[in-house]
Amino acid sequence: MNITGQEVIDFLIKVGIIIIKIAVVLGIALLHVAYATYFERKVIGHMQVRLGPMRVGPHGLLQPIADGIKLFFKEDILPANADKPVFYLAPVIFMASAMVNLSVIPFTKNFVIANLNVGLLFIFAIAGLGVYGIFISGWASNSKYSFIGGLRSSAQVISYEVAMGLSLVGVMVMAGSLNLTDIVKAQRDSPWGMFIIPQIVGFIVFTIAAVAETNRAPFDLPEAESELVAGYFVEYSGFRFALFFLGEYTAMLIISSIAAVCFLGGWTIPWYITKALPFLSHVPGIVWFLLKVYLFIFLYYWLRATLPRYRYDQLMAIGWKILIPVALANIVVTGLVKILL
């Protein structure tokens, strides 16, 4: 092999660019998580005719920072009978698996850390790994609440991952690719502009499954406060708890990004909108992407402020008896249309 100096420099530049991209994405994601909690408290507060955080800084804007500092300086408690190494490992697995998924999300036209050709499958695989974090934490805490929370969570995430995966098959069939960038491009070139219009059934199944997948209300049974105190992370405190918290909100960001990329057209806007209002084509793609992501995150908060928690058997019945058959029917119809037209 013959390696010239020029090639080494090119390689180093490539690695450097990737590292800068990772730093940017990670920094923005962490800041997003901090302010997603603020956004959530404000939205739910106003929906309940309250004000939400108002004291720390103007309109409570510094509240997430105060919360972060507080969590950082809290005592790190280890339960006496906990399985130490596993107990320490669980939040790291949970958070890392959420963070890794950030690497394949195309934020805008040429901004994606790893442009994988199996992007969607990769996301499912890694999101599935996150369950280990939850289940291990529930087991290692040696507490009945966290154990039940962990069991519930793994059962729920596994059942809903099936529905979520199937709901996205329609999108894969229509785009003819698993690469997230190609899916966005396919939507831009399609007559509908975004896949939510032909894939509305898939989108509804995806939305319901996404809420269950991230353990959010009304499917927040793993951390059902009224029954399980806090669910699988009941024994965690201080920064280890913060890791779970970060993981949950990052997972929400990921799922919202998938919704934006696969159904809402990612960083593009439909051609008929730019035709009607041509000046909108000058708006940078990242704005559209973030707008769609935050719209979906707002939907999460909206649902949380509106709906009470489902019963466990109802949760399972919705997943297996309704969502999966509907998603399968959607695949069949999409496939038939694709073949016949």
């Binding site: 939205v43 507060g45 929906m47 309940q48 309250r50 509106t306």
Partner: protein
Amino acid sequence: MTVKELAKKIFFVEIVKGLALTLSRLFSHAVTIQYPKEKRPISPGFRGLHAFVRNPETGKYKCVGCGLCAAYCPSQCIHIYTSEGEEGTKIVERYEIEILRCIYCGFCVEACPYGAIALTEHYEYSDYSRDALYMTMDKLLSNWDNYMAGSKGEKYFKRFWRPMSEDLGTSEGQAVFKK
């Protein structure tokens, strides 16, 4: 399940109704009162911190030490110590209220025949020590000066704590305390 019920389920009618309600509340005005910054208006006749009414003519308290307030007080938090002065007059030596035991019923004010004690509109007087909340005569008088200064006190008192002496004044020929 009828067709109508099925259609309701498929299109999430109930859930959409709930979502519409919460969304409409999102744009409504919050009812929160941000307490230290904004304060709820005090309703008329509010029963707050105790005060000794200062007689505008003599500049002293009106209390004669009859002990009716202490006798009437349900939580028994009023302590009065009197002694006999020159020519058999009664002198109020100490008049103390344990604020921490008071239930703010206002019976002491109602019982007082001379309109000597009042409840002011002031209510923000929490403190770290018990001593600060043990009211002596001087403190009670300064409470009047602080929170019921000027004609406000007189008007407030007349309006909400009509002294018994006004309604049940002594008749001409009745025997009175000698002076």
